[in-house]
Symmetry: C2
Subunit: 173 residues, 2 copies
């Protein structure tokens, strides 16, 4: 994945001083970068039976539908409150400062549906863990979680212990 990693731009001090932001837009605007990323995500789970790929607003929407297409699965969005029009279930989870809430349509995942959760970034794992909880509340089975970038110096993987967690590009700092 070194060829993909080379296309990621590091932006110091964003969104605040001391944070080194790994900017995937430079990867995505490159046709081979986009293609290589989607193909590599799909290769992770091509031998699995997958009904649904879930992506979280907003950057998760970039990868999850393309991955769903390649796995011949459906795509289901998890969104911020009051964005989804039909009946939802919601989950709240702690951020560094404060709380966040995410919603999914109640009829989006059925009992026993096999689900992949796809996102651009695994950092603290809070968002991913919240999505796991939503899927399981609806009776779905989390086959795995796949990320484009994993920040290995943060405890994301620990928060997802017991689940199959994969990532394409890893950073140690």
């Amino acid at each position: 994945m070194d060829n993909l990693k080379a296309l990621i731009r590091e932006v110091p001090d964003f969104p605040k001083p001391g944070i080194n932001f790994y900017d995937i837009t430079t990867l995505l605007k490159h046709p081979d970068g986009l293609r290589g990323t989607v193909d590599a995500l799909a290769a992770q789970y091509e031998s699995e039976k997958v009904d649904t790929v879930i992506g979280v607003e907003a950057r998760g929407f970039i990868f999850a539908p393309a991955l769903a297409y390649h796995l011949n699965a459906g795509f289901v969005p998890v969104r911020k409150p009051r964005k989804l029009p039909a009946e939802c279930v919601s989950v709240s989870y702690d951020l560094e400062y404060g709380q966040d809430t995410l919603e999914i349509h109640r009829d989006a995942v059925g009992e026993g549906h096999r689900v992949i959760i796809a996102d651009d970034l695994l950092a603290t794992g809070g968002t991913a863990r919240a999505v796991v909880d939503l899927v399981e509340e609806l009776g779905g089975v989390v086959v795995g979680l796949v990320f484009v970038v994993e920040l290995e110096f943060l405890p994301g993987r620990k928060k997802l212990e017991g689940y199959d967690v994969r990532s394409l590009i890893k950073y140690q700092s």
Copy 2:
């Protein structure tokens, strides 16, 4: 496109009384619906040389990257303010009440780059028009705009006069 239209759910009175919301999540969660939609979007421009497909946060992110993949192009996001980490150009445009602002990375589109703008919905056309302005400010050429759903009773197409505008599923009311 009648088979795709049949998968769209109508939600009355969302997000406010009197509005009939066309909910594409029921289309997307269906593997054949997602596949059929992406294939139909790609078929619109498969004979064109396209460098970049642009999608607007958040629902435009669902289709634009998958379309870019199929056209062997790159994907560029247009986002709400303060989300993109590097140097941006921005555009403000009028909403029914108030204003909205969108941003694009300054280095995302180069002089003469051939661009498709893809979104889920063409309604008043305000967002699409703003994205056209961003692309042209950066020297890009708007090859066309493609939408999954077009509300033909609203003046979106008129606001994009002179551009190639296509949509898969049309509603007259």
